[in-house]
Amino acid sequence: MSLHLILFLLFGAICVAGAVNLLVQRHPINSALSLIAVMAALAGEYLLLGAEFVAAIQVIVYAGAIMVLFVFVIMLLNAGEEEETKGSRVAILFGVPGVLTGAVLTGWVVLRHSGTEPVPIGALPGPPTEIAHLLFHDFLLPFEVTSVLVLIAIMGAVVLATKPEATERKAR
């Protein structure tokens, strides 16, 4: 059992535990914290695959910026524990078996038919210079389109989150 496999299993166990904890917890702040644990462990998996830059971005953008936004909103809205309703019981009754069947089928196909060649540690060093070359040369158009997308998202968030009375007063 190589060190690589041990580290993979360690980070994978943290991922699995965090994902299951997200489902089990009833309070949104606990779910958010376990999601942060999942994202941090995934950054470790990216490091094992040799994608250092992606791992850094994962910690900074995902576990940092996006999850801080989530935690802010949870605290701002003072979200409490969710109550069990008729809809959630029906969803558990049909959703969980269906998804588990699909997951087992997918896992079987992956184990049976995918290439099982091992991925060596640091197989593909992803230095920022090469990623930048790809991003600003081969993927220049999608990159520019994402800038428009982010601009639209900023304006949409401002418009949606502003209080309606404030905009009405301004219109008059």
Binding site: E45, A51, V54, L77, A103, E117, F139, V150, L160
Partner: protein, 100 residues
Amino acid sequence: MVPLSYYLLLGGFLFACGVIGFLIKRNIITIFMSIELMLNGVNLSFVAFAAHWHALAGQVFVFFVMVVAAAEAAVGLAIIIAVFRTRETLNVDQVNLLKL
């Protein structure tokens, strides 16, 4: 040395957990976090395939997924705040009218 299928199985498990959370959770914020979990599972598959096929483009796609996730989080959380302001609940079962 870890087989590629292990990474794919972990990514698939995270995706399945996200789908289950999306279905069984009634809190709109937790449903939103389940979507983020699904995106993370897909990202892991992207990076694993990039390392397996020696194609750096897979890592670039992860950036685009992250940008879309960030934009989605910004707009979605603004919508959640607007919904909470008008209905004063976060339970999706009680949000069943297009217009109040």
